[in-house]
């Protein structure tokens, strides 16, 4: 199964190779989707494809090293009551998570979403819900 986690590093942990440690110990590849570092904290979104046990192991390693871990159950959702299928979001989606099908209806492919947030600003109807 695929899992996405949002990690919060406090300044005390920013300099430590915690993620590398998790990769080495759990022995799985981890993809960094997004990372930002400010003076007060570091926030990172990571993704991995592994069995339930391994994912739990990664979470445990991260937590025991002082990283706050939040599981991201869903990535992006469209409020179909509000959406008018214009497709404005599709032009700024870097991964084709949002596309129009042949009937010009908006289709969401959550697996592809990297939570960049471009669609939030692009949607004139406020129909995008991002689970960050």
């Amino acid at each position: 199964m695929k899992a996405r986690l949002e990690l919060k590093y406090s300044p005390a942990h920013v300099n430590k190779p915690i993620l590398s440690k998790a990769i080495l110990e759990a022995r799985i590849p981890i993809n960094i989707l997004k990372a930002s570092l400010t003076a007060s904290e570091g926030i990172m979104t990571i993704e991995m494809d592994a069995d339930r046990e391994t994912i739990a192991r990664v979470i445990e390693i991260l937590k025991s090293n002082g990283v706050q871990v939040k599981e991201i159950p869903r990535y992006v959702e469209i409020n179909t009551e509000k959406c008018i299928d214009c497709g404005a979001c599709t032009g700024v989606c870097p991964t084709d998570a949002l596309t129009l099908n042949s009937d010009k209806k908006l289709i969401v492919n959550e697996e592809k979403c990297i939570l960049c947030g471009n669609c939030l600003k692009a949607c004139p109807r406020g129909a995008v819900i991002l689970y960050k």
């Binding site: 299928d85 404005a88 599709t90 032009g91 009937d103 010009k104 692009a122 004139p124 109807r125």
Partner: protein, 510 residues
């Protein structure tokens, strides 16, 4: 005159009998291609069109009824969105682009109209100076559309025959009414339904005129005149339309907000085109691949934006457009799916005998042109304020050379030029401080190469905006070939606002 096929009276007789043949414009394009235009034109009586786009020039006249004691409202708000009150006591106009005084552009006139049509309750506030006949000075109440005497959608400009595409050559993201435009030609935004576009399908305006009955906002509406900025010779016709808001449907009127641009209203609008002659049929059969528009560079702050590419609606609708050898995404701001629904709904109404066609009372003008605003008051230009006695540096200069020049010339910004005085970079006092701190010796290593510049004939407010956008305080002024002519800084601009020191005051900005 093109070969006559049928009259509107004959079409209406067929509608009454229930044997009228109606196709949507998309269906008609296909039939005309498969069985030939001649045959299709003889078999099909009416072609329905549709569009569903953001149309800022929309709004509604409302009559609120008199309160007791009455008030001559001189200012009024619906859900904190200002209503135009330069009319009689309780008449007002809510414009789609007006925006909430408490929530900003997130909620605007377009949303108010959607909420009204949805039957929601809205807060009405009104103010007045009080008169003998209208003693009340303030009113606040809750209203619904049913409470209003009249609610009439009157849109000065709708159904643009086509619209321009937009792209962005600059290095920053732009937020426009054609959506988010990514830097370096990163994508294209466009609008319009192409081969479903009402005014493209009757581009010679042979059947659409004043009085034409149309599908408007899910109800019945009428063309009441040429739209503002109507420009038929450029395939930029528009129409002014009106219809009773009370019989419209919120599915086809949607409030919207374009990020950092403003509030607007999506309007579903469709026009039936009776195929009265072969020329009308030929126009109605025009496919997306023969409907062209221009993609413009929206990073250029001028109404004369450079055309980057001419493109067909077929290419735009594919979702991919090639720009400068790179394939980028093209996204529509208008909804093609909803435009199709408009055309299908109108088709159904006609087939079921619920909608009769009309002959125009008067034609729309074909010779209207869109003029630009004359600017007859002097606007200060860069060339009038820039300093020409400036310090420049060569790329081979050392940090020490440059810092000496800065001190002598009392300069914060030093353009770096080549042997022909062409701009290659810029250094500021801050860059020099950084170079000293990092112990860098060469100018080359610290200068900014991607320089934000000003042109001599740009107006001051454009340049002031640019400084704000990029958070910088000085711009080299260059000619079209990149030769440095001078420098303009925020200090130069601030002189404008000090008349005592001999500057010019810009009205309304001081």
């Amino acid at each position: 005159m093109s070969e006559a096929l049928r009259t509107i009276e004959q079409v209406n007789e067929k509608i009454a009998k229930g044997d009228v043949v109606v196709l949507t414009a998309e269906e008609f394009v296909k039939i005309a291609e498969s069985s030939g235009l001649e045959k299709a034109a003889r078999e099909v009586d009416v072609v329905t069109t549709g569009t569903f786009g953001a149309m800022c020039s929309s709004g509604a006249f409302l009559n609120f009824g008199h309160a007791d004691p009455p008030i001559k409202m001189t200012r009024a708000w619906l859900n904190d969105v200002p209503v135009y009150k330069g009319l009689a006591a309780v008449d007002g106009y809510i414009g789609a682009a007006a925006y909430s005084e408490t929530r900003g552009i997130e909620y605007g006139g377009g949303h108010v109209i959607e909420d009204l049509v949805s039957g929601k309750e809205l807060i009405l506030r009104g103010e007045s100076y009080g008169t003998d006949c209208y003693p009340r000075k303030y009113v606040e109440t809750i209203i619904r559309i049913d409470d209003l005497n009249q609610a009439v959608l009157v849109n000065p400009r709708n159904a643009y025959q086509r619209y321009f595409g937009a792209t962005n050559s600059s290095d920053r993201t732009l937020y426009t009414y054609l959506g988010t435009l990514l830097p370096n030609y990163g994508n294209v935004g466009y609008s319009g339904s192409g081969e479903l576009s009402p005014l493209y399908k009757d581009k010679d305006l042979e059947t659409i005129g004043i009085g034409t009955r149309i599908f408007l906002g899910g109800g019945i509406g009428y063309v009441i005149g040429e739209g503002t900025q109507h420009y038929p010779s450029k395939n930029l016709s528009t129409i002014m339309v009106a219809g009773d808001l009370k019989q419209m449907n919120p599915r086809f009127l949607k409030g919207a907000t374009f990020y950092k641009y403003g509030a607007t209203l999506y309007v579903g609008l469709g026009i039936p085109i009776p195929l009265i002659n072969m020329n009308v049929a030929r126009n109605a059969a025009t496919p997306d691949r023969e409907i062209f528009t221009e993609i413009m560079d929206y990073s250029v702050p001028s109404v004369k934006r450079p055309v980057v590419k001419k493109v067909s609606y077929e290419e735009l609708k594919s979702g991919r457009v090639e720009i400068n050898g790179k394939t980028v995404k093209a996204a529509s701001m208008s909804s093609l799916r909803m435009a199709r629904e408009v055309a299908q709904t109108l088709k159904k109404w006609i087939e079921e005998g619920l909608f009769l066609l009309t002959k125009p009372v008067a034609p729309l003008r074909k010779d209207s042109v869109q003029k630009t605003m004359p600017l007859r008051k002097h606007e200060p230009k860069v060339v009038e304020l820039m300093r020409t006695q400036i310090v420049t540096a060569k790329i081979t200069d050392s940090i020490k050379d440059v810092s000496t020049k800065m001190v002598r010339g009392n300069a914060d910004h030093v353009p770096v030029v080549d042997e022909n005085n062409k701009l290659v970079g810029i250094v500021t006092t801050w860059d020099i401080a950084k170079a000293v701190a990092l112990n860098v010796q060469k100018l080359d290593a610290i200068m900014t190469r991607n320089v934000i510049v000003a042109k001599p004939h740009e107006t001051i407010d454009i340049v002031a905006n640019r400084m704000e956008q990029y958070d910088i305080t000085g711009l080299p002024v260059v000619d079209d070939e990149g030769h440095v002519l001078g420098l303009i800084t925020s200090a130069d601009l601030s002189r404008l606002f000090k008349p005592s020191e001999g500057g010019v005051v810009i009205e309304g900005q001081a």
